[in-house]
């Protein structure tokens, strides 16, 4: 992080375990405002757990997770709502509410959090956001009627509908063909450049990661093994690291 940049997310010696198994072990890094970092690593190394700690779905066993300066573990319900209001989360499976239409999926947070908005305004925001991800004509469909790529787009639209400052993305390319995955990457790039959204992306897709990321964070067995710009990490003479960050 260069001088003068504002820290949006900070992990300070974070530890997290499940059933006696340590998933994150003294992990520390920071994400600056407007920066995009990609978390890389093998499956089960705590990448998704890192995202869930950032949005407060999980609590760290030790250490601190700070988001916009707020300690996530110290926040009560109201404080958590305020911090989450600044964040969007795209789940690996998109996690659309299957009993709601795509429009209703997007309108849900608007209805709840922006009570001053009229139904017409909400409809307009939903249509605009769906238009941005190329789903303008699919708002009345149920999630089950959408393809995997369309579900990801709808999930991204829902994550963006509140205009978040921070976007957390879990495996945007998972289960998608290369072309569709590339389209999702392009959408994320668009969000980054047009909205200057701070992004944390968990991915196995190094091709997409190199397109979007300002920095890579590489996790292995719960430890942060490398953190830096792609160029910095490319220069490291470490075969193990190159397995993750070299384009195949």
């Amino acid at each position: 992080m260069t001088e003068g940049q504002v820290t949006t997310i900070a992990f300070e010696q974070v530890e997290k375990g499940f059933d006696g198994r340590k998933v994150l072990d003294k992990v520390s890094f920071t994400v600056a405002q407007g920066e995009a970092i990609c978390i890389l690593g093998r499956s089960g190394t705590g990448k998704s757990v890192t995202l869930k700690l950032m949005i407060g779905l999980l609590q760290a066993d030790n250490g601190k997770v700070l988001v916009t300066g707020e300690d996530m573990a110290a926040l009560h319900e109201d404080g958590l709502v305020k911090v989450r209001r600044k964040m969007g989360y795209l789940f690996q499976s998109a996690a659309l509410f299957d009993s709601f239409t795509v429009n209703e999926n997007l309108a849900l947070p608007l209805h709840r959090l922006d009570r001053n908005k009229s139904p017409e305004e909400i409809k307009r925001v939903v249509e605009e956001t769906l238009g941005e991800v190329g789903l303008a004509k699919d708002g009345n469909k149920m999630p089950s009627a959408l393809s995997g790529g369309m579900q990801k787009r709808a999930g991204l639209a829902r994550a963006l509908v509140l205009q978040p400052e921070i976007l957390l993305v879990d495996e945007p390319a998972s289960g998608l063909d290369r072309i569709t995955a590339s389209e999702i990457d392009d959408l994320l790039m668009k969000v980054k450049t047009e909205r200057h959204t701070t992004m944390v992306i968990v991915t196995h897709d190094i091709h997409g990661a190199r397109k979007i990321a300002d920095k890579f964070a590489v996790l292995d067995q719960g430890r942060l093994l490398a953190f830096g710009t792609p160029e910095e990490l490319d220069r490291r003479n470490d075969n193990w690291l190159q397995q993750f960050i070299a384009e195949r």
């Binding site: 869930k52 949005i55 779905l57 319900e77 958590l80 709502v81 989450r84 209001r85 964040m87 969007g88 989360y89 789940f91 690996q92 499976s93 996690a95 659309l96 509410f97 299957d98 009993s99 849900l108 947070p109 209805h111 709840r112 959090l113 829902r158 509140l162």
Partner: protein, 254 residues
């Protein structure tokens, strides 16, 4: 074993108390609540009415074969109405709701948990407990007494159909006999007790669905546990509530 049983009871009790408390705290999720009223109430209507009608016919056939030996067939309508108002209507409607709605709630919430939909609700700064649990608890608590009234009506009508076919009893005479000597206390407390049944069914089903995290196996377990435990608890609660009704309305116990 015993400790784990008491642990579970304590957890369900706290879960139910939280639902009761949160029901009075805004926002009230009215739109989603209406959907639940429709799904739980209207969705169960046909099952409850059809079951009530069939039970009404069968009950009359059984009581007729006994009462005919004593020349007391004229008492069939009042037996029918008292049986339905006091016990058959409330208990069968509750068991039907435990089967249809309880399994549905358990499976749906467990599936939402497994597919991260509940986490997604939380990330959108929406209280998933209020949206998913409190609305279902309110809907079951309100709809079960209404469904019970429809079951009672269908059962009495089924009894009339059976009697009309056997003895050509007129509608007016049947209804006159059915409600002769039936007091408000025969109808109101047993019907209102089903609000407790509805609350218990919803709390137990939501508890198993909302708290599971075991993928598809969790969905199976949640659906099964919701039906088995809520049916059992309804039957046990019925024993206690009937004793309470007898205590509050001593005439009922005679």
């Amino acid at each position: 074993m015993l400790k784990s049983l008491f642990d579970s009871i304590g957890q369900v009790a706290l879960f139910g108390a939280k639902a009761l408390r949160d029901a009075w705290v805004p926002p009230f999720e009215c739109e989603y609540l209406l959907t639940q009223f429709y799904e739980i109430g209207v969705g169960s209507f046909f099952l409850v009415v059809a079951s009530g009608l069939a039970l009404g016919v069968v009950m009359t056939l059984h009581t007729r074969s006994t009462l005919v030996q004593f020349g007391a067939t004229a008492e069939i309508p009042v037996f029918q109405s008292l049986a339905f108002f006091n016990e058959i209507g409330p208990l069968v409607a509750a068991l039907l709701m435990a089967g249809r709605v309880g399994a549905g709630i358990g499976a749906q919430l467990a599936n939402m948990r497994a597919t991260e939909q509940i986490d997604a609700i939380e990330t959108l700064s929406v209280d998933s407990f209020k949206l998913l649990v409190v609305t279902r608890v309110i809907a079951c608590t309100v709809m079960l007494p209404l469904l019970t009234m429809f079951m009672d009506a269908a059962g009495i009508f089924g009894g009339f159909l059976s009697e009309h076919i056997w003895s050509h009893l007129s509608w007016t005479l049947y209804m006159q006999r059915a409600f002769d000597g039936v007091a408000l206390a025969d109808f109101l407390p047993p019907t209102l007790k089903t609000a407790v049944f509805g609350y218990l069914i919803a709390v137990i089903s939501c508890f198993y669905g909302y708290n599971t995290n075991e993928g598809s196996d969790g969905v199976r377990k949640a659906a099964t546990n919701s039906v088995v435990v809520s049916s059992l608890v309804v039957i046990l609660a019925d024993v206690i509530l009937v004793k309470c009704i007898f205590f509050l309305f001593p005439d009922q116990a005679i």
